[in-house]
Symmetry: C2
Subunit: 310 residues, 2 copies
């Protein structure tokens, strides 16, 4: 615990694995670390595949390093629930920053056996926060609900778009447009950047946010490092706005409310499972598959039994 708080990279890696895999002591570890959190800025960055998220996140990390801030990156990858393997690309990326202990990169390749990906990401961010990282950058592919959920719970959410995203672009956007505190048009030297900007503006003219903030649009060419300073400045602006309007605390409470529901859901499932004997779930599943039982009555029955057994 002390080692984690001092930011020792090996202790950090071990602590994150413990939390990610829900290994023995994970919950005690988080309880002990929680009082030391709340200092880091947590930024969420999302966008469709091919938007250049990793490159932009790397640029932003370098920017914060120049300002002498330490950085933690959590890269959430929609990989297989089966293989559980991390993506090669991230290993290569990691080597790129290997010389700088001020940047710590963690790939979250799978959702844990318990709890959703969003839940685990929040827990890993808690560990990084307690370890004294100044900025935590969470990067996800913004298409699935899970992935959207993750960045939505950040302090500042950046949505990255690119020109020419093809047929389903409206569909992709639908899920992530509303969560943006800041828009980035990356690869903005490509044809069609103006159109993307017009589309965002058109969307913004239709609805105003309840908090009164109009998300700015920042143009970047991350591969050449262009626009990173502007993005960093836009993040500072939004943070200042939240502070001025006293919105930061409100937002934090709302986020915790959602997280609590998720945590409660998982913990209650564990409670139910702990009271079922091994194999009973499979037996029930077979009975349902044979249509000897309906699953809806069964679940009510199991839940009802919880009170009586203890």
């Amino acid at each position: 615990m002390e080692q984690v708080r001092l930011g020792d990279p090996r202790a950090l890696a071990r602590a994150i694995s413990t939390v990610e895999n829900r290994s023995a002591g994970w919950s005690e570890l988080l309880k002990a670390l929680f009082p030391h959190t709340g200092k880091a800025r947590i930024l969420g960055l999302t966008g469709p595949p091919g938007a250049g998220k990793s490159t932009l996140v790397d640029q932003l990390a370098k920017h914060y390093r120049k300002e002498k801030h330490t950085v933690g990156i959590i890269a959430v990858d929609p990989t297989s629930p089966y293989t559980g393997g991390a993506i090669l690309g991230d290993r290569i990326r990691m080597q790129d920053h290997y010389a700088d202990p001020g940047i710590y990169i963690r790939s979250m390749a799978t959702r844990g056996s318990l709890g959703g990906l969003a839940r685990t990401t929040v827990d890993v961010a808690t560990v990084l926060d307690a370890s004294g990282r100044d900025c935590i950058l969470i990067e996800t592919v913004g298409v699935g609900q899970d992935e959207v959920e993750i960045v939505r719970l950040a302090d500042v959410t950046v949505v990255i778009l690119v020109p020419g995203m093809g047929d389903d672009v409206q569909t992709i956007k639908a899920g992530i447009m509303e969560i943006a505190d800041i828009f980035v048009i990356n690869k903005s030297d490509r044809e069609g950047a103006e159109r993307v900007e017009r589309e965002i503006r058109a969307m913004q003219s239709l609805a105003t946010r309840s908090d009164g903030w109009t998300p700015p649009i920042v143009k970047t060419v991350a591969s050449q490092g262009l626009g990173t300073e502007e993005l960093a400045a836009a993040i500072v602006d939004y943070e200042a706005y939240l502070k001025k309007e006293n919105l930061a605390f409100r937002k934090n409470v709302e986020n915790w409310q959602e997280r609590l529901v998720e945590m409660l859901r998982d913990a209650m499932l564990e409670k139910a499972r702990a009271q079922m004997d091994a194999g009973s779930l499979e037996r029930y599943a077979a009975e349902i598959a044979e249509h000897k039982r309906d699953p809806y009555s069964l679940v009510e029955e199991i839940v009802g039994r919880i009170d009586k057994n203890t």
Copy 2:
């Protein structure tokens, strides 16, 4: 209930809404309908944005109609958790089949307030199954974990790829390659189709499935209706294989096991919430945001209290 079973479209729409929104009586409705399910073939189709899923699903629906089968389509869209609006495109699509009561299309735009998207989709499929639809086609964008989950629980899972998917194609694929019972290369008249096929074959040569099945690769040009018959034949082949090897029941039991866990998770959360007074969740969230409490101990406390209160 009777009306739903007779396939009356208005009763069906009402029943699906009840289930989707968890309105009064949803659980009783599903209990009553469940014994009448298990007859429909449930096909899941997924692929990255822009793969032409909707077009292919429509072609497949037309094919089954020619064989005099009734069809239900569930189109799952990764839209905003806020607006909850269905996508315009699906309304247009719906009109296209309006004249044929043998095709019923339902857009699932949002995840319900309770339960994940996968859970709700399974329940909606139950309603369609009980209403006597012969084939149920579930279509999702295959990038997020949630979306992958949905089609994985189908009887047959079809993964749709297209040539030239850009930078992150490896990342997209990672999540959905293993769940494919059948691969489709759509827009196969485009350059790069051979390469996609080679990549799939290369992947297949690395690992064999535990059930011994090698997913075939079907090439289609859905916009011109090419390859639909071949896809339908591949689906029949896989179903025959499952039957011959006695795998269908096994798969069904496994699917139900996973669904039961999800259902239990939600039901237990409801139980926990029912015993918390209104506003207490918000109060707790505020205390956590102020760092007066740690959420991990709090959740244990709430779960522990469940037994005593009843």
